[in-house]
Amino acid sequence: MAETKVVRRKRRAGLRIIVATLLATVFSLLFSESPGRAARRETDQPGAECLACHGEKSMNTTRAGKTVSLYVDGKKFATSVHGSFGCTGCHADLEGKELPHETPARVKCGTCHATEQEQHARSLHGKAIARGDPLAPRCVNCHGNHDIYPVKDPRSAVTPLKVPFVCGQCHREGTPVSRNRPIPQDNILENYSESIHGEALLKKGLSVAPTCATCHTAHLILPHTDPASSIARRNIAATCTKCHSQIEAVHRKIIRGALWEKEANVLPACVDCHQPHKIRNVFYSQGMADADCMHCHVDEKLRRARDGQSMYVSVGEVSHSRHNKVACSQCHSEVNASRVRPCETITHEADCTSCHDEIGKQYMSSIHGQLVGKNNPNAPSCKECHGTHGVLGKQDPQSLTFATNVPLLCGRCHREGQKAAVRYTGRQHEIIANYTESIHGKLLKNGLTVTATCTSCHTAHRILPRTDPESSVSAANVPATCGRCHHGIEEQFENSIHAQRVSGSAKELPICSDCHTAHAIRRTDQDNFRLDVMTTCGRCHAEIAKTYFDTYHGKVSRLGYTKAAKCYDCHGSHDVLRVTDPRSHLSRANVAATCQKCHAGATRRFAGYLTHATHHDPRKYPFLFYTFWGMTTLLLVTFVVGGMHTLLWLPRAFQMRQELRAAEAKRSATPETPASKDKESTDA
């Protein structure tokens, strides 16, 4: 034993309690029916001397403040495998001791069971004991102490039928071990009991069915990451083939079963298909090899009788796909190898979720999955996006799900006029066209694969409408969704007045897409964005936007002048704050610097310009109001006086015109040439 005496002494009290409790439990279970028998003295048995005291049921002692029974069932001990050794066979340190003796030392099973002891010491359990783990099991925890029977004896604590429960004492849900120790598998006992192995053992009583110890071994239990473990990747086949020795005949894909043992790293291990503890008899009970399928499906002319659909499977397509190591029957799991046509039992399409379980759950919660659930014929299933036999990973540029292909893929249905766009009643239109023209779309076109595609915002499998609070594009989630790439901006935004947390406003606050749009996201330095942002802010800030248009910046902006200050040039874009906030771009300390962005040399006094002034408000801007009305009065008076003067003049002017015409007519009536007349008058 690796333990030192010092360590052992420290643990003694605790261990004794465990041992004693166990003893009490076992004994009380076995002899509760006939207490009278226990009282009878069995002096002819080995260890009769000991039983003189320990045969008394009432014999007990107090250890660490707890009463511990010291009763030993002599009859049981006599029939156990150790019965013939007597008490001192194990408790050797009590040989010849005066009675009453001291508390004996811990029994060393390894004295006889050296191999098992050595294996246990190397195992997880043994190492845990060495670490001082109080939960680590010792020999007695599994085997019991005075009532050890041969393994094949039904009375044995470790007979196959009992093994799952012995292990399950610790390895079932809710125990301190399952809760506090890093064990990657969960629901081990439940899964096992529902697996084909568990069913055979527990329901059908097939004692040769594998128990925990069959795969994990009885004493040399090691984690699967340990190369020496029976369940290590390279050893698992050997472990399984202990029983399934003809397995290669079933798995014909692998020509020689030996490959599993020799090149386990390149080949699927048993557990890749048959999950440990969950080995289901539904899917894989009967092996199907691809060759069986391809026997027929290699034919290009193969058609389904029902609807004439081609049933041809291209070997080349599959071999280049991501599933090139996955057998046909893993996806088409309803095959039945016992039939002449194994596929005739297939009634459903390939179930991707048998492997892609988590994604399947996401998909079923998505709008796509919900529509499938409602039997909508247009709803996309897995193969709609991922293809069938030629499925490729999203990292493969050939894949439909590769970043640059995603908008085309989604566009198949979501392009204007297509089936998804037709049933859509929201406010987003020309989604694909807008995206293509957006900054994201243009970057993607330039080959930047890390830019946002449809799935970056909508997720790939958890797609939900904007109105669903769970959606990645719901109002509450949009900032975080955009922030996955634009993190710095999200931080600014979350500290701005537009964030609920800061403003505490009950009104609907703007999110990224309210200003940037959802799909037509433009560069913010482009003219259109700069000009549109005025009306964008004005959607909520109607009054203040109106007054903006009353002053120079607003007026010239409306005429299309992009350089004039827009809302965010002064207020900030994502970090917009109340002007009273010292951190605001428009606070007393910052305002001059903000003006200086355009007006070099601007002072605090310059910043006194009223950018939202209106001359219609006599209370807020009296001097503007009175200047305006003073000017208006001046205008009105001038126009009225000037206009009246002109209007009064008009009749006289017409009169003069008539007189002139008459005089001219008179002159032309006299027989003189006008030239000579003119000359005369000039001379005169």
């Binding site: 248009f549 409306r558 002048y561 200047t627 000037g642 008009l650």
Partner: protein, 281 residues
């Protein structure tokens, strides 16, 4: 006028420089009015179209400021010309400013104004006007006032950083209102009252182009400025102030230009009326 005839001789009312200055004034004023009003009425569709035609707002701004410089140039040139006139013809400012050729309104102008109003309502004869009538003097000083008010506010808006070194920032708001409304006043007045009073009176139809040719018929002088005519006859200076009329092609060209200016002016007036009545905010 038939070929070979001696050209008609006409009275010279305006010097060459004065005529050039008026044309410069027209061009710069039109530019200022157009570009300025696009900004004032930026909320109308018209303004956006016009701004676009002028090459975008930024361009319109350049045009506005260049025209302002021309306008200032016209103003200064005129003042220099007055100074030269004083040196050439008069001994003192007193004679220049209070003599019969002066633009300064005097008691006689008041009498003529009252007389004119009486004439309008048929209570008297048309007054015998001198070289400058009271409405011509009003127009003349309106320009002085306009240049002072619009020019000074315009400069503060042109150089806001400079001016806010000693003026409060909100003065720019006040300056904007004054500049804009005074501009509206000038535009409105010139394109209606001035057009009518000086160029488009029915008796002068189709148009009085004296300010472009510098010449007026003697008959017209006798009729419109009898006091000046008589004074000239009395002093015997009339003959030296007569020159040959321009050939028809020149007057036709001038008329075309004048009509163009009128058309622009009236369009602007219509636009102002539309903007004030139907789209005002």
């Amino acid at each position: 006028m038939p070929k070979g005839e001696v050209a008609e001789r006409q009275f010279i009312r305006f010097s060459r420089l004065q005529r050039i200055l008026h044309i410069c004034m027209i061009v710069s004023f039109m530019c200022l009015a157009l570009t300025g009003l696009t900004l004032k009425f930026s909320y109308t569709k018209w303004a956006a179209v016009l701004s676009h035609l002028l090459g975008g707002f930024e361009n319109a701004g350049y045009i506005h400021r260049s025209a302002a410089v021309v306008m200032f140039g016209v103003f200064i040139t005129h003042l220099v010309d007055l100074y030269k006139l004083k040196k050439r013809e008069h001994a003192s400012w007193r004679v220049l400013l209070l003599g019969p050729g002066s633009m300064i309104p005097n008691r006689r102008d008041l009498a003529e104004f009252v007389g004119t109003l009486k004439w309008f309502v048929g209570r008297g004869e048309r007054p015998a006007y001198g070289r400058w009538t009271y409405w011509e003097k009003f127009d003349y000083f309106a320009v002085f006032w306009g240049i002072a008010v619009i020019g000074s506010t315009g400069l503060t808006l042109w150089f806001p950083v400079l001016f806010t070194r000693f003026l409060p920032g909100s003065f720019l708001n006040v300056a904007t209102i004054i500049h804009s409304d005074e501009g509206l006043l000038a535009t409105g007045f010139i394109f209606t009252v001035h057009f009518f009073n000086t160029h488009l009176r029915p008796e002068k139809f189709p148009m009085d182009i004296t300010v472009f040719t510098g010449r007026m018929e003697l008959e017209e002088l006798k009729r419109d400025k009898p006091r000046e005519y008589e004074a000239l006859v009395a002093s015997g200076e009339l003959e030296e102030k007569m020159e040959e009329a321009y050939p028809a092609i020149v007057t036709r060209t001038i008329r075309a230009f004048a009509w163009g200016a009128l058309a622009v002016g009236f369009s602007i007036v219509l636009w102002i009326i539309y903007a004030m009545l139907f789209a005002y905010r």
